[in-house]
Assembly symmetry: C2
Homo-oligomer: 493 residues x 2
């Protein structure tokens, strides 16, 4: 697919008007204004990349003004906070301007992350206000480079990590946000790697300082970060991995390296861990927040580290669920340093979205090295077209996935029986199968919904208990203070 | 000095009666009851160790019953919570019983720690109730081994780490709490190593995961942990060390490896750090607590770790200062996981006293290896006799020391001009010099006291500011929640 073909495939595009992006983050939202002034940031090389995954050969720019007039590309745009339908497929027109140090990428595949779901509900403050194109990671081919860019050239295949703006066919990003794809890596794999693996790596090896013979509790072990974390744990000798996931996913995560899969829907994971490791675990990776953070903290051995990296418990339903948000907020874990000292524990918080990008360069390079050594390999759960982003988000939110959910910029075929569609047909078949599987999973999900409701009731009970416990602890503390005062009085007398 | 000589040197011993120790921790308080029952824990080898630091040759036990009747040893005993005078020198009579897996150590030197000061004021709950012998670390010679002890033998020089009970001439401890002293290590050095170096090591290398090119803020850089941490930082390439200490100690800590000494009495250390490292530091070691923890947290770079390991700010004056305790308690740092996530930071708590001893074995071995490589070397600030424990504690509390304060079990000479006292004389001279230095430092300390008062006033002001800030933050948060609710309402409409 070359840039020129794009306008021909605007199926399902809901709006044809170019969107005016707010100017805050120029690198993230390509401008549609056609150069009102001659900036020094004029692209020094702008060429349509060769189509598909074939080796890129930079074609000479033909009839430049005409191309710029006709340049357009499809983009997903969050039009407002709310349900799945708030992310719409639109067409942006005009070639994005390139500043010094930036590159223009023809995007092939994009990764879906929990933060994207939070963002859609208005729960993630790192995404600029709507209308805005979401998307923090993608893979693609460099189509043009700005001035002073020496380390990337047109035709390079790259992974991209950005604050937002990558769920579209073309994006302009600082060159430092791109990383060359290793030999043999596919675009979908490449789009699945950055966010999940950087997150898992920094949590386990920087905050967690994971060492041989230690034990780790991984929540949502079948999710993107869960599978990345499992693979990274396996690079350290004799690490015991407890992984929570619904029963249907246990076979896959066991094969992936989870030592003890736990069905959190039918079992109390705290009890299950204690049965096997009475003293608890060395590291807890906690994407859930709320009451689960308390449970995780209490599962820590001395010198143990709890690493919180999200509040998935806030997500309940398509739209912002104020009850779930308030409950997770209310139950969020808070700790005093004196208590930490007495238990010799650490509480860490991680969120890649709030991290300076320069810090991840070394980590990304280490990960690409591990990939080339065959020690890590992203697992793709399913691939959706941009038009299907709603289904993709639903699958993630309903925890249907095992591994990464990918959006491909490849256009959907309206009529599957074209001349050169044989190759595509196979892909379509696979998609259909995936769909079937998904439907089955949805049914399962419905069954589990009932279980979930029961769980929620239990959670409410638990919440009440926790409140009672808090009140009691407060009393005990007050009593202690009283006692100390009395003691002091005695001593003074 | 052999065990038999001890009773002859009971100068300043305030009470001659043996103390009945509470039975809770047998390994810590040697029993004085003379074996009312034949336990299987009868010592299998009990022999007076050869005197002094000479090579130990086990003498055959002579006239056993008589020896056990006359066996006595001097011990420091905390008789109640309060000022320096609450720690009294007493004589315990009767040979302590040895159980299987235990050893009896003839103690040569003991280390003084902040926890001992806290304990005396009743602020450290890991010390059993008075009367009790304090002391968490010492060095000495094994004088007897219990049944099943195969890894230690009579005459072995050892470092000892225990929950309490080591500020005396003889102690019985589990063999697992002893570590062989490396060749060439003196008893004072050995007594100075365990608590400070294990603490610094586990904080920097386990919680902190210190790596090349990082930066560390070390409070009380001239204290025992401060000097240990500085030396350990120097084992990692290109680590920048910010160290707080009063100006008179800057030369020494600079020589020791502190890159940027900061006089916390005359400067705002936060400003000083920011001047040099505008982005802050990677690790803060915080022994202070209270408002300093907040400052330290705010100085952290992304992926930074704050490691709290005490609440020295609670110590103000000889006796428990309820105002200082309450203020430190009130101002103690508390953090929500969501805030941690948004700043990508870790908050850790460490206190060796609350840590399972089995966890420190590997660390201790790593430290002894570093010692033998010449990479670490405890710095002795001063050595006091057991009789001078009050002066020793005062020196520590008033922050007069540069390095470790040691208690020696060597008896004080009443008349300095004895026949064989020449060697001792030199030591005495050194002591006198030390005393002079100390007096000078005390004068300095007085001067600084005034400064301190000024500082306290400032602290009060700051406290008020902090309260106001807190109140304001709360308002902002409430407002945010309100706004979100309204947003949600709008969306639902």
């Amino acid at each position: 697919m070359s840039g020129e073909d794009a306008p021909a495939q605007q199926q399902n595009a809901e709006e044809q008007k170019p969107q005016q992006q707010d100017g805050e983050s120029k690198s993230e939202s390509p401008k549609t204004e056609n150069k009102p002034e001659a900036t020094p940031a004029e692209p020094v090389a702008a060429a349509a990349a060769a189509s598909g995954e074939a080796a890129a050969t930079a074609a000479a720019p033909a009839d430049k003004p005409a191309e710029e007039d006709t340049f357009s590309y499809r983009a997903l745009v969050l039009t407002g906070y709310g349900g799945y339908d708030k992310v719409k497929l639109q067409v942006k027109k005009g070639k994005p301007a390139l500043k010094s140090g930036e590159v223009m990428v023809r995007i092939k595949a994009c990764g879906l992350n929990f933060a994207d779901l939070m963002a859609r509900q208005g729960l993630y403050d790192r995404l600029p206000s709507p209308p805005v194109t979401p998307g923090m990671e993608c893979s693609g081919i460099i189509e043009a480079v700005g001035e002073d860019v020496t380390d990337r050239k047109v035709g390079d295949k790259v992974l991209v990590l950005n604050r937002s703006g990558l769920w579209q066919e073309v994006a302009v990003v600082p060159t430092s946000h791109t990383f060359p794809m290793p030999e043999g890596m596919g675009f979908e794999e490449a789009a699945a790697l950055p966010v999940n693996y950087i997150t898992a790596y920094m949590m386990l090896f920087d905050f967690g300082h994971l060492r041989p013979n230690q034990s780790v509790l991984i929540h949502m072990a079948a999710g993107g970060v869960g599978i990345a974390a499992t693979q990274l744990c396996k690079t350290v000798k004799d690490v015991t991995i407890f992984g929570t996931a619904s029963a249907s996913k246990h076979e896959v995560i066991s094969e992936g390296g989870v030592t003890h899969p736990i069905d959190y829907r039918t079992r109390d994971y705290v009890e299950e861990v204690r049965k096997i490791n009475p003293k608890g675990v060395d590291i807890v990776l906690d994407p859930l927040g709320g009451s689960d953070t308390h449970k995780g903290y209490n599962l820590l051995k001395p010198m143990g580290k709890l690493i919180s990296y999200g509040a998935a418990n806030m997500l309940s339903g398509q739209k912002k669920n104020l009850f779930a948000v308030a409950k997770t907020w209310y139950q969020q874990f808070s700790i005093h340093t004196l208590s930490l000292c007495q238990s010799n524990r650490a509480v860490c918080g991680f969120h890649l979205g709030y991290l300076d990008s320069e810090l991840v360069v070394d980590v990304m390079n280490a990960l690409l090295e591990l990939y080339q050594q065959g020690k890590i390999k992203p697992r793709i759960d399913s691939t959706y077209h941009l038009e299907q982003v709603g289904d993709a988000m639903r699958r993630m939110q309903e925890r249907g996935n095992v591994g990464k959910i990918i959006l491909t910029t490849e256009p959907m075929k309206e009529e599957p029986k074209k001349e050169e569609a044989k190759k595509d047909e196979k892909k379509e078949d696979k998609k259909k199968e995936d769909k079937k599987k998904e439907d089955k999973k949805k049914e399962e999900a419905k069954k589990e919904e009932k279980k979930e409701e029961k769980k929620k009731e239990e959670a409410k009970k638990e919440e009440k208990k926790a409140e009672e416990k808090k009140a009691e602890e407060k009393k005990v503390e007050e009593k202690k203070v009283e006692e100390k005062k009395e003691e002091a009085k005695k001593e003074e007398n």
